[in-house]
């Protein structure tokens, strides 16, 4: 691509973690708990392991084509026609995902903070902000994300500690009362969210040091797993599995019960910060993937003119994608994870990888680290931080 963007592995990892986490922790505990009851935390572990499998596929794929993004290497692997078809499918996926997340972003704010405000207000505002960020490129998104990530993590930790006195960890037992089946069923939904790290395939070609692809995916998956585990444990311990499964946003309700010494009460603002900060990153990334993917697909040199039109499409799509939040929840529990997991997050990448191996496309599969990149990682990161003056 024309843009010579470079991001460090820390930036990439934080982008991916924040993208997955913020939306994961608000909705997912309820859906997972509904299936797995008190074993929801086991579901989180299972989902993390599933995520590691996916991450393995993505890593292998990206390592073969360290400087190409998803759309580029699918053409390399499958040839121009099939490659374009796959690319189109992914564009559809990005669009769909972006629309879902933008809409649920608006719905969350409407349901929990401003019931009288129409949802389009939030949708339009957040899309404009995301368009501004996408217009400024991946580096800016990555930088902004670091700040928001700090906010999100801070909120999660504060919420966890402030609700700690309401937690009853016996709520997490008995372990495996119903066997593994509900656990696995409950893990599908978080796995589908974790699988969104497939978007990494659109940004990791910008990694400053391609040797760090594996590290990015590994740290991302484990990081997401830990956060998910922590939130599920917190929520289920606080509310018990039954009440949790009745809640739409257990994470939010968790902040609503905070009451310390009669003056720190109802820190819903923290949930809002967490949600807006995380969802914004996610919207930006998916939007970015969509716009830059589109530019790639149309063979445009400069993707920027696409930002505006794509934004309009997104707003429109987000408004019509479903009518009621319950529709979304229903769609999100089973069909959506299956749909995305089998195709975009699992099936297609695996297929691409297998074909690439068979047709011997791309690097040997092991782009090994640059000499000294491992112990010198901090140095290489440092040099990244100062984009303008590279080492001479």
């Amino acid at each position: 691509m024309a843009e010579k963007t470079r991001i460090s592995w820390v930036q990439a990892t934080l982008l991916l973690i924040n993208m997955v986490t913020a939306t994961l922790i608000l909705v997912v505990p309820a859906i997972t708990t509904e299936a797995a009851r008190q074993d929801a935390w086991l579901s989180a572990l299972v989902a993390t392991f599933g995520g590691l499998l996916l991450a393995f596929i993505f890593t292998k794929l990206q390592q073969r084509f360290p400087r190409e993004n998803l759309l580029q290497f699918s053409i390399t692997i499958l040839g121009p026609v099939l490659g374009k078809v796959v690319g189109f499918l992914y564009l559809w996926y990005f669009l769909h995902l972006a629309a879902i997340i933008i809409r649920s972003f608006g719905d969350f704010l409407v349901i929990s903070f401003m019931p009288e405000t129409p949802v389009w207000v939030f949708i339009i505002i957040i899309t404009i902000l995301a368009a501004y960020a996408v217009h400024n490129g991946l580096e800016v998104i990555a930088r902004v994300n670091i700040l928001f990530f700090a906010l999100v993590i801070l909120s999660i930790v504060i919420i966890f500690f402030l609700t700690a006195k309401d937690m009853d960890f016996t709520n997490l037992t008995p372990i495996l009362a119903e066997g593994w089946k509900p656990v696995v069923r409950g893990s599908l939904f978080p796995l589908a969210w974790i699988g969104e790290i497939v978007i990494g395939l659109m940004i990791l070609s910008h990694l400053a040091n391609p040797g760090e692809i594996k590290r990015v995916y590994l740290v991302t998956t484990i990081g997401v797993g830990i956060l998910l585990l922590q939130v599920i444990i917190g929520v289920v311990a606080t509310f018990g599995p039954e009440y949790t499964s009745h809640l739409i946003f257990p994470g939010l309700t968790g902040t609503r019960i905070i009451s310390i010494g009669n003056f720190i009460e109802r820190l819903e603002a923290l949930a809002m910060v967490m949600w807006v900060g995380g969802a914004f990153t996610k919207i930006c990334l998916v939007y970015y993937a969509g716009v830059y993917g589109m530019a790639e697909w149309f063979r445009l040199k400069d993707p920027r003119p696409l930002v505006g039109p794509a934004g309009i499409i997104l707003v429109f799509f987000a408004l019509i994608i479903y009518e009621h939040f319950i529709d979304f929840l229903k769609f999100a529990t089973v069909p959506f994870p299956m749909y995305t997991l089998t195709t975009f997050e699992g099936g297609l990448p695996l297929l691409l990888l297998v074909i690439a191996i068979l047709r011997k496309k791309g690097g040997a599969g092991n782009v090994q680290k640059n000499p000294g990149s491992n112990d010198d990682s901090s140095a290489s990161t440092n040099s990244r931080l100062l984009e303008p003056q590279g080492n001479k």
């Binding site: 349901i111 929990s112 903070f113 401003m114 019931p115 009288e116 405000t117 129409p118 207000v121 309401d166 016996t170 037992t173 008995p174 009362a177 119903e178 509310f239 018990g240 039954e242 009440y243 009745h246 309700t253 609503r256 019960i257 009451s259 009669n262 009460e265 109802r266």
Partner: protein, 400 residues
């Protein structure tokens, strides 16, 4: 211009703070004839709460709250009816209390709680309580130290002398398997002495004095015990003493005072202040039936001794500890008997403990737990220890 443009669409959710009728407490009753819900709201009157005129605010006719009441088939309908009476928007975000009359509670509370758990404004941490009689009366009670009755009751509950149950706790207890909900009971009483007490004279015997007090002091709310629920329906009550036992059984009482007779002078008493304690419930299966061991550990400090005791001796302390344990066990047993045999409601959550330990067996037991619970065998083990005895070793004795 831009300011105006931005502000015009922004009025959807905006409410100025002085356009709100801040609901502090909600009372729910069932109308005797129509079976409709009667919703009583205690609304703060900020005007009479102004800092400078706070003292004046307590004069007659200057009550800090305003109470309105309306009926409807659902709470929301009642709210809408009330909204026509209130000049300001009803605002639920600061509701501290939800008081339910016993008539409504006996009919089942899960339908009415739905509104509070579903809506965005009411908070999950509002206290749930039940009163014998009408909830309306509790809302009308008087508050002496706090600015509003609702805040007063809130602080009463926070002091943890009775059961502390908020909406989230209640809902959790209601939905969780193998446990029945309980909520504190609140009643009215004349608390405190009137400042206008007459000078003591030959005419003023005790009774007359009390009569005077009743007239002078408006009744205030008071925690009087516990209401027991089965499937969200009120089935029985525990008094204050039994509530204490229930708290120990649930492992929630971390504070409290126990007064036991002196070992050597049964007429004299001594008091132990419980500092911390824990309760452990271990289920097991004996001859195909669930059996429970309830182990209660308490630590306390000696606060007041009325009889001469050689408290410097460890043996005395050990002896006292045993007395203390025996007394506690008695009370716990009494409470448990009432819960198990009289009402057969598992508010302690024995079923839940059993489920955690034996999830498979519970599946069979769960549908008929109501029948099984009164029959389960329970063994109590109470361990107590007295840690400190204050600044004195032996009690003060006059010179002989």
């Amino acid at each position: 211009m831009i300011v105006l443009l931005l502000l015009t669409p922004g009025c959807w959710s905006r409410k100025e703070i002085n356009d709100l009728a801040v609901i502090l407490a909600v009372g729910l009753d069932q109308e005797p004839q129509s079976n409709q819900l009667r919703l009583t709201l205690q609304i703060a009157k900020p005007k009479s709460l102004t800092a400078g005129t706070k003292q004046a605010g307590f004069g007659p006719g200057q009550k800090p709250t305003w109470i309105i009441s309306g009926t409807g088939d659902t709470i929301f309908e009642a709210t809408r009816n009330l909204a026509t009476e209130s000049s300001r928007d009803l605002y639920w975000g600061h509701t501290i209390l939800l008081v339910m009359g016993d008539r409504l509670a006996r009919d089942g509370v899960n339908q009415v709680l739905d509104f509070f758990a579903r809506a965005q404004q009411p908070r999950e941490i509002m206290w749930i309580m039940v009163t014998r009689g009408k909830a309306e009366d509790i809302l009308r009670s008087h508050a002496e130290l706090e600015s509003t009755p609702a805040q007063r009751i809130g602080f009463l509950i926070r002091s943890k002398t009775g059961l502390t149950v908020n909406l989230k706790d209640f809902v959790t207890m209601m939905t969780k398997t193998g446990i029945n909900p309980a909520a504190p009971e609140v009643g009215l009483a004349t608390v405190g002495l009137s400042e206008l007490k007459k000078l003591p004279g030959p005419d003023n015997d005790e009774k007359g004095d009390q009569g005077n007090r009743k007239n002078e002091m408006p009744p205030q709310a008071k925690l009087t015990g516990t209401a027991l629920f089965r499937e969200a329906k009120l089935v029985g009550w525990l008094d204050r003493k039994e509530t204490r036992g229930l708290l120990w059984l649930k492992g929630e009482a971390t504070k409290g005072i126990i007064t036991i007779p002196c070992p050597n002078h049964p007429k004299e008493k001594l008091s132990v202040d419980i500092m911390r304690g824990s309760t452990e419930i271990t289920p097991s299966i004996a001859r195909g039936k669930p059996v429970f061991t309830i182990k209660i550990k308490m630590e306390g400090d000696l606060k007041e001794v009325h009889c001469p005791l050689p408290l410097g001796e460890p043996a005395t302390i050990h002896h006292l500890e045993k007395e203390f344990a025996r007394d506690m066990e008695e009370r716990v047993r009494g409470t448990f008997y009432k819960i198990q045999k009289q009402y057969a409601v598992d508010v302690i959550g024995l079923g839940n403990h059993f489920y955690r330990r034996y999830p498979q067996e519970w599946k069979i037991l769960a549908p008929r737990w109501e029948k099984v619970f009164p029959e389960v065998g329970v063994e109590f083990q109470v361990q107590t220890s007295i840690i400190h005895s204050g600044f004195l070793t032996e009690p003060l004795e006059p010179w002989k």
